[in-house]
Symmetry: C2
Subunit: 371 residues, 2 copies
């Protein structure tokens, strides 16, 4: 079924919204952060460890799955949910971002983009229609349109031309998805030019997308630049549709952009940083490699109820990490997922209770706001 | 408490015994295979995944834990069980085997062995007394005496001299463990010389060990050599004490040596081979990397009830493996642990039912006996 989005409460001071995104098999409370399962797995974790820690919706990568194992294989095996044993929701990106950040020898034309696989160099030609066909085969609950992500230092002229092509690609994507039961989200581009962002949002406003995303702001730019673009773009997006800020964020980002009315996020930070030893807690960040934890009998986060925190000490996890044990990566990932899931629940509760502004104030003043 | 071993049933045809090894916190059905948790973790798995798959007793490595994080740290944090969150039993080897297989610049004297850490080259001097002190600090349920493991090609003269020193070390180890509540097992050496093995077994026969091990037969020798030594040594070991064959084995070994009256085994095969993609099943072995599994919707083993087999297809696990996902190693390890645990249960049942001989016959004729 097509996604159904209902706003349950809007904060009286900030622009934050608490909503419910119904995806057929699962209902997702928003604002929500989607952990990233690039290759049909949220790295190190089994599906029940996601659902057991409050995760109902993940992101998976069309580009990676197209290259390996191939969308036809996934289709043959019953679609991505069945393939990976996941009962929750799945949003797939279109592959655009990965083509422009990972692959080699890209050649963009109106028709589509020719690229070489980052795995074995083999050549492919991706069109908006193929991106949607792949996502249909994968069977995600929400598909993203194919877009071009210009580099952050692209000229205004390049960004404008690219944005116009992305619009034409979005229309082709919508057409390709007609009659499908999958959701389809548009992606607003326009680089760091406020007027282009506003214009792109306006062009998309009445298109029959099930949700709208802000793309191209997580590519290595300064945080204040992202903030500037989100602040000008979010208010121009349809009120009644979910708003998705792609590739963001750190805990402070999630609090900040929820307050600007963003409903959905995805980010590799909980999982990738865990594998680097970085732990997010309600009292701030720590790195488990630090020798101060060598004999530390405390859990990662005394305020956390995850399996890692209820069963293991920092000293043990540090020992595993320093010894190169895979279990360390699991335990750290599990905790970070639980932390981010818990943070989003706290954000949502503050909106429901009408105190999102003071929640955000308190958050930014607390040690929890690390960076 | 000291381990208590009770033999419940002896097979009428083979020498196999079904027993119960009581370790205070847990009762272990024998014959048993101990998975190896070298660095205070059975690689990739959390403790509840072990107990949930029928594992009650694991082996951990004194040598590794002595070097990292250090036995004093483990003691300070409440002992190894608490440190690693494991409610089951733990047997620690003495470090002897690792000193002789992993460390550098070994120098053996009557007093002990000087060696350099394989991690950072720092120098240590291990004595039988220190080996026991370390195992006391770790707090394992069963400690092993320090022994010398001569290389498989050692001369008879060397092996005999070494064996005699190992006996003197064993007596020092026993003395060092006096008054301790931990179990202490002796290790029978003697290389591939049957008369030395028998003599060593006889020397140990009346010593107050809680169990007796056969050491030094898993070091790269031909399987028939191991079989010859086990066949001549096992009958000379005390009937009423648990017999432990160190570093063995493959499924066929477990069936074969159980039938020769061995009660305990440890082996890295279930875990290490999993990480290389090798899967043990009731219908034979497979390697998940094989392209025949690329679109294979079957579970690893249709006869297996583990989480991996109930939730995931070979195609999915192969995809994860080929994509370098850690989850593949977890899922394969989990299954192999479940397989070996199940095999030991089948062996035990055959003994209880008095049909161990025909069980072994059937096993060796079946595709399950892969090697």
């Amino acid at each position: 079924m097509k996604p159904v989005f209902k706003i349950e409460k809007t904060d009286p001071v900030t622009w934050a919204r608490a909503g419910m995104l119904e995806l057929g098999r699962v209902k997702i409370e928003t604002p929500v952060l989607m952990p990233v399962g690039t290759q049909a797995a949220v790295k190190t974790l089994a599906p029940d460890e996601l659902s057991g820690n409050g995760i109902g919706l993940i992101l998976s990568n069309t580009y990676h799955l197209f290259l390996r194992p191939g969308h036809e294989v996934i289709k043959k095996l019953g679609g991505l949910h069945k393939f990976m044993g996941w009962d929750g929701g799945i949003l797939t990106d279109s592959g655009g971002f990965q083509i422009f950040s990972l692959s080699k020898l890209r050649k963009i034309s109106e028709e589509g983009v020719r690229f070489r696989s980052h795995i074995d160099g083999s050549e492919f030609f991706f069109t908006p229609e193929l991106a949607m066909e792949v996502q249909k085969a994968i069977g995600s609950d929400i598909a993203m349109v194919l877009d071009e992500c210009p580099p952050p230092d692209a000229s205004r002229e390049y960004v404008e031309r690219s944005m116009n092509m992305t619009t034409r690609w979005a229309l082709r994507s919508l057409k390709a998805m007609e009659g499908s039961g999958q959701g389809c989200f548009g992606i607003i581009q326009g680089g760091f030019f406020e007027d282009l962002r506003e214009r792109h949002a306006a062009e998309y406003y009445d298109l029959p997308f099930d949700g709208m995303a802000i793309g191209g702001v997580s590519v290595g730019e300064a945080p204040e630049e992202t903030a500037r673009i989100v602040a000008c773009t979010a208010p121009k997006m349809p009120q009644e549709k979910p708003r998705y800020l792609m590739g963001v964020g750190m805990p402070a980002d999630l609090v900040r952009y929820s307050a600007l009315g963003v409903d959905m996020f995805d980010c590799v930070v909980p999982t990738r940083n865990a594998r680097n030893g970085q732990v997010f807690t309600t009292t701030g960040r720590l790195n488990i490699r630090n020798t101060t934890h060598a004999e530390d009998s405390l859990p990662l986060d005394s305020g956390c109820g995850c399996m890692t925190c209820t069963k293991f000490s920092r000293a043990y996890i540090r020992h595993l990490y320093m010894s190169g044990e895979i279990l360390a990566h699991r335990l750290l990932t599990l905790h970070n997922i639980a932390y981010f899931s818990g943070l989003m629940k706290r954000v949502r509760r503050s909106i429901i209770e009408g105190c999102n502004a003071s929640f955000a104030d308190d958050f930014f003043k607390s040690p929890e706001n690390g960076c």
